[in-house]
Amino acid sequence: MKLSVRMLAVAAVLATAACAPQTSGNSSSDKDEKTGTLRVWLFQEVNNQPKEQVVDSVLAEFEKEHEGAEVTVEYIPVETRAQRIKAAFNDPRSAPDLIEYGNTDTAGYVKDGGLADVTEDFGAWDEAKDTDPTARQSVTVGGKVYGVPYFVGVRALYYRTDVFEELGLDVPKTQAELISTAKEIRAAKPELYGLAVGGAYTYGAMPFIWAHGGELATGNGGSYAAAIDSAAARKGIEAYTSLFGDDNCPAAKCAAMTGNDTITAFAAGKAAMAIGGDFSHAAVEAGTVKGDYAVVPLPGLKAGSIAPAFAGGNNLGVLKSTTHRTLAVDLMKRLASKEAQGQLFEAMGFLPTFSDVRQQVAAKEAFVKPFVETLAADTKFVPASPAWAQIDAGAVLPTMFQEVVSGKKDVDSAAADAARKMNDAFGSVG
């Protein structure tokens, strides 16, 4: 039973002289003004100050170059980004011109019709040729480019060198060792979390599932089927959730924690280990544990192996509804330029998306090594389906972990529920 919007509008007008549910005129704007205010939304990081400085210096140059153009930047919290950005798609008038977005959201935002196609601009940008292929993939949907990669994010294991030394512990080489070491530390130092984990920390949990050979979903292109309830995936869930409890990270505290929360705890000296990204480096450096920690790749099942990591990262994209397309594209390129990414790396530890820049910085900074190693080993990505944004915003996986952790459901039924919800989402996007 399908009705076109127009028929529906006619029917509604006839029936009640009122309107059918509205769709916003979010078609691409015809205007392309060269002056005025550009609105930019970037993510608020755990320790945001250095990021702001890098951005400010880019803006200063941009505003010098374009007379009459002004830029206002707002830093939005990552946790509620979905609502903010959707709301922006709903109301083009108040929407920003340029946004930072997680690469897992690309497909969803494109389907929502929110991002502008910048294939030509990207092709004409001379720096783009050095963009690493995985990063390029993360802005591409159906062969078209919808933004530029901003940085690559990959996670590894942060640990406290002073604590390990004091207790005479070795750096864990396998996942089993990781778990037992975490509990050993907690037993010896009950004021610390062994390994800080979070029930809402999806990307910290994924490597456990992948290491066991599990997958979130299988399939490709348009159709996916959830695989989170497969035997292998359930083993991973089991392993991750075994870290919640008084013997490592008390569920009462940790069930609700997000990735940022675990890093905050580690930086404040409340945890002996944490799973953090290259992008967490600045926050940890600014914490009380500065100088007392090191980073290694997150161990896999076998000794010496590296657990597959989530190939995260953020992109910049121009909104379809912008009235300053040329300006916005220019600003986007400046913010994500080789020079700016290099500065951003120095300020925040964000890994550049350009292969050559990444090599340069890796040679300069020792801390990058474990992350580059992890990237080289094996990285995985969430299902490249518009449904993912919905699954993510609906907190399907955090709910699953929290159900297990709090003892409401066992692994099997929680995973089965999650799989059902994921399949619903995959189904609803066709």
Partner: protein, 292 residues
């Protein structure tokens, strides 16, 4: 007003004399203890707002502070455009109070003083309208505001709040208007007063206590609003109101309690002042509204 007051007071005296039993001391002690318990959260809020960071983050919280400081307030006013948000909240609340009082007064007069077809139906509609869960309407209102182009403006908060406080205001005011003897109206017309004159110079002052009581409700609902502020003011933070600003300090794992409490204090004080000012009228107003 004094004869009425005396009457009430003497009744209360009588009442307490008759309920005075050996238990009175116990009752008074209970009342004081309950008062202390009820007031404690507010005391703690203000106290924590003035505590230095070290005392807030101590595992041994004490009910006093040895070194009161304005640090938290400075952080609140420094970190963001807090003054601006405060003003936005005031604008919204005042606009809602004035508009809904005015509209409700007219409507209440109409439904009590005039007879017309559908009057009962209308009254029932007002009653039913009170029950409508505001929150459920957030979704369609979001689209209405978008179509009106009012998202991110204070109008998107003012308009719905007027609508939602109206039914209750009308329903409450109805009691007051009813309480004014019809004879008074006739007398006024006899004296040659016009309808408008009667309305504003005679009826209006008489139902003022009721208007105050209803204003309290409109004020609270507008001032406290969190859901609309969260849903409709999405991108233009210069239009934010206090509740959203407060949440900036509240981060789930590591809340800046000092900042949260200072911001809460700033947000609560105006309402408290407002309440204390209208306290008398509020109590008599509520009594009046439900008496009939």
């Amino acid at each position: 007003m004094s004869p009425v007051r005396q009457d009430v007071e003497s009744r209360v005296n009588l009442l307490s004399r008759f309920t005075r039993r050996p238990g009175r001391t116990a009752a008074e002690a209970t009342a004081l203890v309950v008062a202390a318990v009820v007031a404690f959260p507010l005391y703690w809020m203000v106290l924590s707002a003035f505590k230095p960071a070290g005392e807030i983050r101590s595992g041994e919280p004490r009910p006093w502070t040895s070194a009161p400081t304005l640090d938290s307030f400075r952080r609140v006013f420094g970190q963001q455009d807090f003054g601006r948000y405060f003003l936005n909240s005031v604008v919204v609340a005042v606009a809602v109070v004035i508009a809904s009082a005015f509209i409700a007064f007219l409507a209440a007069t109409a439904v009590t003083r005039f007879r017309f077809r559908l009057r009962t139906t209308l009254l029932i509609m007002f009653l039913v309208a009170q029950m409508v869960p505001v929150e459920a309407l957030t979704i369609p209102l979001f689209f209405v505001m978008r179509d009106l182009g009012q998202l991110n403006t204070l109008w998107s908060l003012i308009l719905p709040h007027i609508a939602f406080s109206l039914p209750f205001a009308i329903w409450m005011l109805r009691g007051f208007v009813k309480g004014v003897p019809e004879a008074l109206e006739e007398a006024a017309y006899m004296d040659g007063a016009s309808r408008t004159r009667f309305l504003w110079q005679i009826l209006f002052p008489l139902v003022l206590p009721g208007l105050v009581a209803t204003s309290v409700f409109s004020f609270i609902s507008a001032w406290n609003d969190f859901l609309f502020a969260k849903s409709f003011i999405i991108s233009d933070i210069s239009q934010s109101t206090l509740p959203m600003a407060l949440l900036v300090f509240y981060k789930p794992d590591d809340p800046d309690w000092g900042g949260v409490m200072a911001a809460s204090t700033v947000m609560t004080i105006p309402v408290l002042v407002f309440f204390v000012l209208v306290q008398r009228r509020l109590v008599s107003g509520l009594g009046g509204a439900v008496k009939d």
